[in-house]
Amino acid sequence: MIAEAGLAALWFAAALAALQLAMAALGLWRGQAEPVAAVRPIAIVQGGLAAVAMAALIALFLASDMSVRLVVENSHAAKPWLYKFAGAWGNHEGSMLLWVTILGLAGGAVAILERRLPERTLIATLGAQAGIALGFYAFLLFASNPFARVSPAPANGLGLNPLLQDPGLAFHPPTLYIGYVGISVAFSFAVGALVTRDVGPAFARAMRPWVLGAWIFLTLGITAGSYWAYYELGWGGWWFWDPVENASLMPWLAATALLHSVTVLATRDGLRAWTVMLAVVAFSMSMIGTFLVRSGILTSVHAFAVDPERGAFILALLAIYIGGALALFAARIGTVRAGTTFSLVSREGGLVVNNLLLSVILGIVLIGTLYPLVAAGFGVQLSVGPPFFNKAAGPIALALVVAMAVGPLLRWRRDDAGALLDRLIWPIAAAGFTGAALVVLAPPGVLPLFGLSLAAGLAVASVLPLVGRNLRRTPLFTWGMVVAHLGIAVSLAGMACDSAYTSETLVAAAVGQPVRVGPYVVKLDGIKPVVGQNWSALEARLSASRDGETMVLRPQSRYFSDPVTTTSESAIATEWDGQLYTVLGQADGQGRWQLRLWWKPFVTLIWFGGVLIALGGALSLVGRWRRERRIAAREAYA
């Protein structure tokens, strides 16, 4: 019953999306009032219905209803409830339903919250939202129905991929999807503004919170995904330049560029065409991301099902949306008047440099990600890995860090290069001192050396905008910028430390044999079997001592029966100055056990920086929102 109700809700939501699109088009073409008035309520109800469908799917998973095919293929009655709940989107159909649900809810939120945008532009925006949603509803209903039944119902399900049986599953996909979808809202605003020829500061201010919100969630989603991969895979790495990782990084890069250019548009009415273009690009990246991950053309834990028909469907959607957006852009951009101009040495100039460098990095990541797919089309099989990305994108990322240190110290409109250099004395001193100290004390490689020096410089430069200001009266969005840039410095320092100073040991250790890694001496005390709710495991007891203090770590090798899989659960000890990372391997048949140990100094800074970046975004969002409300109140008063 629940499955049928969910399917019905999905059909109704799709019908409403079609209606929403038709009403918006009718209202805009004919200028009639009734269809326009209908668009907002329809958008709200459509979002509600999508949420009902998602709730129905979650209910089916929680109840382990084995008459539903999706539950049979991806769940098991003996699974802990959290993984039944999150398992609802730990598969192809469910994750697409989550995508469209978030899209519907976001459309509803725009309809409820947006008050300052001209009515026509808003209607066009909601129409564009409905157009996007319609494609995904069609995809779900015709190619990936999550509510299909099986008959006869089997006694139990096949279970969820054990790598996904982790609390990360409850958090990582929804945050990333909120980010992707938030970008689609920004894109809809851009389409709305193009349709009504209304590209200006008002549009930028309406779009900005959505870009910021999407960017915050993308940042959190990427940070969470990175840490999840780090502890779950047991490879000691935190970023593998895997295509699915790139699929989340590319929209983030585009959103970061958009976030900065939309500020120029909102504050100074410059970069009009470029901002609209970036909105189109950012959305295209999130669509390409969805395509890469969901079409099954990649082999990974993210690629749930390999089904060429679905890949073709998503590819068609991708072509329609990106092609349509570019066509609209080309047709209408001539009517967007040029904005105000600025001197190249100015805040605007700095932001243009930021945008250029981000675009270049985006281009490199895109080429590296798509190249193997294109090559495969020509019958050549190859893979593009970390050496390419580090070599091509690393230097540009460091240049971007320099721009990030300089940019916030520039004044709007026009600035003086000499005065700028005066302001940069402390950051340059910090970078130089750090670099010199490192070369003397513990010389790292070239890239990490630059990374650490620039991180120090950036950290100093990013707090300079606060110097000499009354901190209590400093606007929250300025705090947001400071915290976010500081977060980049922190994260960069973590990455550089990890790549320069990690020590690794791989041994087959007998019980009681001491093994050195970094500042630790690790001893294998013994191995014993342990049992969990749906797994059994061999667990090692390791005692790690450093400076006379000893702690115990328990890495496991876990065995799951549904489906039959073994996974290694790493054990990680977090200290203030880094992490000790331990993995248990196999027995060698002579009483020894393989152990892989890493000491990773300050590696935690990577994710701590990521959280700071997102926090900076949140501060900005709250700051902008409060200012908008104050302006709205003043307008109402006047």
């Binding site: 082999t299 040029a338 675009s359 099989q381 050496p387 090798s557 892989r596």
Partner: protein, 144 residues
Amino acid sequence: MKAKHQRLTLALLGVAAVVAAALLAMSALKDQASFFYAPADVQRQGLPLGRAVRLGGMVQAGSIRRAPDGVTVHFVVGDGIATTPVTFAGITPDLFRERSGVVAEGQFNRDGSFTATNLLAKHDEKYMPPELAGKMHETKTLEP
């Protein structure tokens, strides 16, 4: 600067940046893309020395030997036509076993053997690497 000129400058800068990125990426790709080989390809095309590549095939029955240090493993990968000996130091994936598909990342040595830095084992039928599926299929059609 006039608005029109500024627009043009920005557009040119943008184009220049993208072209530079593309050139940089293409040159790096030439060195860094790691190609996929099956043992038969090596027989046909010669050894790709001095670059990171992937080697895929089946772990031959009875070929897995563990070295006395307990962490190094020697095995032979074959595709039905040719075979390549592989050395790997590390924790082998859980599904690494004889008569099962494997993709090794690493470099060829002068003597035709392969030193792997990473092993990807076939997860189950669902997770067969597509490169491998393609190669195995190709090999089958080559058989008389």
